[in-house]
Structures are given as C-alpha cells and as structure tokens.
C-alpha cells in the first residue's frame, strides 16, 4: 500500500502569528515555523499501519525552502520518502491552487491512500483534503476520529456537530484525521540518523506538467486590517469581597 501523508509548515501556535497587511499573506518572519501538530497525527496513522503491514509512506508538502525541515522531521518519524513541491510561482497560493498542485503531485507519485490533518492551525479551512479528492475523483472521508484499515478499503468514525457517523470507502481514497486520532511518536536518534539517507525529492510546477502563467488564483484578497490591541480594564486583588464586586460589575454591564 502506498500512503501519501500531507504535511504543512505553519507558524507555531504557542507564539504570536502575524499577517503582512500590505499583501494579506502570512508574515513568515514573525513566528517559528513548525510542522502542524495535526499532520504528525496523520503521519502516525500511516506509520502505525506500516508497523505491521507492507506499506510505503511518503510525506508531501508544498512551500518555500524551509519546508525541508518538516519533511526531514517526517522522515525521522518513519516516513520512507519525502516530496517537496517548491516553485516561486506558488507564493501566496489560495485553497484552489494549493489543492490543484498537491493533487498533481499525488497523481505523479501514485497512491492508494492520502492522509491529511483535518484542518491546519493557521488557515483553519479544513477543505483542502476534500478538494484534492475531487481532483483525483476518489472518495473522501474527512474529520475521522478513528481509522481502520480493512481488506478492501478504509473505514472510520467521523465526528460532526451532531454525533458520529460510521463510514467506509474503497481505495484509492483521501481521508483526514482529527486530534482524537493517533498520538504521534517522537523521532528517536536512530530515526534522525536514518532520515539523512532517505530520499527527499523537490518538484517544480514544470516537473508536475503545470504552467505557472495560466494558473490564476480563483480568489483575491481585497483588504487586510489588524485589530487594535485590547487594553486591560479594571484589576483588583481579592480581599474577601471580589466575588460580590464581580457580580456588581456584571450587573452594571447588564451581563446578568
């Protein structure tokens, strides 16, 4: 089984994250760039299958040169190979272009199963896996809390706002997994050493047979404004009556 895991480099959620208000794009210099935690879980789902079955696991990412770091980490965790789609023309790609390019890379690589995180912590869109599935014309099962590999396909439990839905699909397919799925392993020293010898291929748009000039984005950012910073209000130290004072504050603001 050939499993492609999508990994994304995102600003660390424990730090400040900024947009460049002139372009509407992420200010990459403002934050530490890390592998999105949810993608480590997606990779773990693939690696757990590989632990006991014959499988090839490939980590795929799109982005600038720094993406090499998260692909190396994926290899250290246990992925067999990594693919990096890198092209200047991809800077500022929207959802549609991102999905189209990743789908082209997946097609070129070949696959039985694509596993993604349910949504990236920066964009929070949660739509790219479904878009890729549509490009590939295969079933999608997104937001899976658990995944079972069967003899003739994949099944899982999908949590939504109203409960859970048990679903299955034949392969090839695209799935995305939630924070309720596998807890990711840490790369050990042996894994880190082995990762240095594993293949990490870089593909451009030309390698994917895509023409950057005929590739207009389908959405356009028209304005980006930063919200004014919030300021501190009243702060008191409890001397035995703070609960009552808070009740007064809430009543005065008609909040109770």
């Amino acid at each position: 089984m050939k499993i492609i895991v999508l990994v994304k480099q995102v600003p660390d959620t424990w730090g400040e994250r900024r947009l460049d208000t002139s372009t509407g794009q992420l200010d990459r210099s403002a934050s530490d760039a890390v592998i999105d935690e949810i993608d480590e879980r997606a990779l773990e789902v693939a690696l757990q299958y590989k632990d006991s079955h014959d499988a090839e696991v490939i980590a795929l990412s799109m982005g600038p040169s720094t993406v090499t770091e998260i692909l190396r980490k994926s290899l250290a965790m246990g992925a067999d190979a990594a693919l990096h789609v890198k092209d200047e023309a991809l800077s500022g790609s929207d959802l549609s272009r991102t999905a189209a390019v990743l789908a082209a890379a997946i097609t070129k690589s070949g696959f039985d199963l694509v596993i993604a995180g349910n949504e990236a912590t920066d964009g929070r869109g949660g739509v790219v896996p479904a878009m890729i599935a549509e490009h590939l014309r295969v079933p999608s099962m997104t937001y899976l809390d658990s995944v079972e590999f069967g003899a003739d396909g994949i099944s899982g439990v999908r949590g939504d706002e109203h409960g859970t839905v048990a679903v299955h699909a034949s392969l090839p397919a695209v799935i995305s997994v939630t924070e309720a799925s596998a807890e990711a392993r840490f790369p050990n020293f042996k894994g880190i050493m082995k990762a240095k010898k594993k293949p990490l291929d870089v593909w451009t748009l030309a390698d994917l047979g895509l023409d950057s000039s005929g590739f207009a984005p389908s959405t356009e950012v028209t304005s980006t404004t930063e919200r004014p910073a919030r300021t501190a209000g009243k702060k008191i130290v409890d001397e035995g009556n703070a609960g009552n004072e808070l009740a007064e504050f809430l009543a005065a603001g008609r909040l109770i």
Partner: protein
C-alpha cells in the same frame, strides 16, 4: 436581482439543522435567497413551509434515495443541479464538518473560487465580498472571487445574527442521480446524546472557561457551576484539556474552537497566546487568577487576582441572591 443559494443541512431523519436561518439570511444579503436541500423523496412540502418561515424566497429540493446512504455526494449533486438550473452568483454553506467537505469538492467540480469560514458577506457592485476573521480575530481580511463562476462561501456557525423576513416560497422539486463511484458510504449514524441543557460552546453568548489553575478534573466542576449560574457554555484552555480535566471538544484557542461571546469568564487560565487567540474578540472578558502577572489580565475588562475557589463560590451566591 441575482440568486444566491443556501445549502440546508438536514438530519438523517430529515429535520433542518439549526444553521438554516443564518444561511438563508446570508444568502439574502447576496441576492434572492434560494434554499437547496438534498432529501429522500416526498418531504418537499413540509421542508418548503419551514424554509419559507426562515426567509427562503425559493426552495429547491433535490430528491434522491441515496440521501442518507452516501456521504456528501448527494449534497454535492443537489447543489450542482441547482447551480446549473439557477445560475446563482453565490452558494452559501455552513462551515460545518459536512459543509466544508461539500464546499471543497463543489468548488473543484464547478471550477470556481472558495471563501471559507467567513464571518460576514456583502455585495459590492457585482462582486461577492466575504469577511474573514483571521488568527482569532487579530486580523480582518476581505476577499472576493473574481471572474464569472458563483462564489462558494462557507459561513462560520453563529457568526451572522441577522435573520431574513418570512416568505412564501416557490417550490421546485427535481429528481437527481448521484454518481456513487467516488463516494464514501454511510454505515451508521449515532446522534450525540445531549447530556446537559447547557448552551453549545460554538456560537454561545456567554462562556465560562477553566484552565490548569483548577488543579483537577473534580475541581473543574466549579467551572460548570458558574456556567450554569450564568446560563453559559463551558470551555477550557488547552492546558486543562491536556491535563485531562475536560474533553478536547471544550477547547478554546488556536487549536480549538474560536468563540466571540458577549461575556467570557476565564478561571485559572494564564492566557497564553494559544488561548487568547480563541477568545480575544469577546465583548467583555473577566479573569480570575492567583498569579497577578498572568497575561490574561492584559486583555481582561475586569480582572481579579485571587483564588478561584473562594471568589467563584461568592460570585455564585451573589448571582443567586440577585436572581431572587
């Protein structure tokens, strides 16, 4: 006036989901609102009356026996058929688990632009303009779909308060066929048992959240007691979730739910950027924490440096006394 489609999600037994009113109102801001439903045959008249009451000027029912047996595919087919028949300027869906998968696949199938998790929509000339709230409300970004195709928009649940006036809709019922080949199959549906009558965290007008400062799962009951006294939803910081006090579904923050309530009460939460990004657009923020230097106080409208286990019980008593 141009048409705007609102995709209405229904339960396995055909009840309209509670995002319907918001979606019809959003569509009404963009054009004449048309409610689109994928349904098992024979439910059209009852759905039409309900959706008219929510403001739909037209109701388009796509009937298929596969509604409920195939995941997502019947919904996409319904919207594809409605879009072909009605040529709308926009298609509005909930940014729900189902809504985003439908929207994503539909945008690729119709070769058009997708704007997700928007908090407001408007029309500027011919253009559909969507407002995004990015990084927990730190930035407001407006975006549009240039070119001809309909703009596909998913709206954050609870983000639009406006409601459309009731209408007497015209009903169109079409039978559709769904291509099962690229679709996942539904084996079983388990509706969540609602254990409490507390408001849902997403879209709540009042939220009480607890953090690591509560100290244990048992102590977290204090958060629930105050939430019930205020009629509020219960939230938690990531630290409280990681410590196992509450399930991940209660997590407010950069990797959890983003809330924007009238009142947010943070108990024993230090206010790491992780958490602040999920609640800093709340109208009024109250924080109680032992540590006077906790960053949560930098954004609190009313901060109390004190012990939650003495301040909160006193507050609950005071709220009770006022209620009487």
């Amino acid at each position: 006036m141009t048409l705007a489609l609102a995709f209405i999600e229904t339960s396995a037994t055909g009840e309209i989901r509670n995002t319907a009113a918001m979606l019809i109102a959003a569509a009404a801001k963009l054009g004449t609102p048309v409610a689109v439903v994928a349904s098992a045959p024979g439910r059209g008249d009852s759905l039409s009356a309900q959706l008219g009451a929510l403001g739909a000027a037209q109701v388009y029912i796509a009937e298929t026996d596969q509604a409920g047996s195939l995941l997502i595919a019947p919904h996409i087919a319904a919207l594809e058929a409605a879009a072909a028949a009605l040529q709308p300027s926009a298609i509005v869906l909930a940014h729900s688990i189902d809504g985003r998968e439908i929207a994503g696949r539909l945008a690729v199938r119709l070769r058009t632009g997708l704007l997700v998790d928007v908090v407001d929509v408007r029309v500027d000339g011919d253009a559909v303009i969507a407002t995004h709230s990015v990084f927990g409300g730190a930035y407001t970004v407006e975006a549009t779909v240039p070119g001809g195709g309909p703009a596909i928009v998913t709206v954050r649940q609870g983000a639009i308060d406006a409601r459309a006036a009731a209408a007497s809709p015209t009903l169109t019922t079409e039978s559709i066929t769904v291509d099962a080949a690229p679709a996942a199959v539904i084996d079983a549906v388990h509706a969540a048992v609602v254990a409490t009558d507390r408001p849902e965290l997403r879209g709540a007008t009042r939220v009480v959240s607890g953090g690591r400062g509560l100290g244990s799962q048992a102590n977290f009951a204090l958060v629930e007691q105050l939430a019930d006294a205020l009629g509020a939803a219960v939230g938690a910081s990531r630290a409280a979730v990681d410590a196992g006090y509450v399930p991940q579904t209660s997590q407010v923050g950069q990797t959890g739910i983003t809330v924007s309530p009238q009142l947010y009460v943070a108990l024993g939460i230090s206010g790491a950027i992780q958490h602040r990004a999920g609640m800093q657009t709340a109208k009024t923020i109250v924080a109680i924490n032992k540590d006077a230097d906790a960053p949560i106080f930098d954004i609190a409208d009313f901060g109390i440096v004190g012990d939650v286990f003495t301040v909160v019980p006193q507050l609950i008593d005071a709220l009770g006394a006022r209620a009487e």
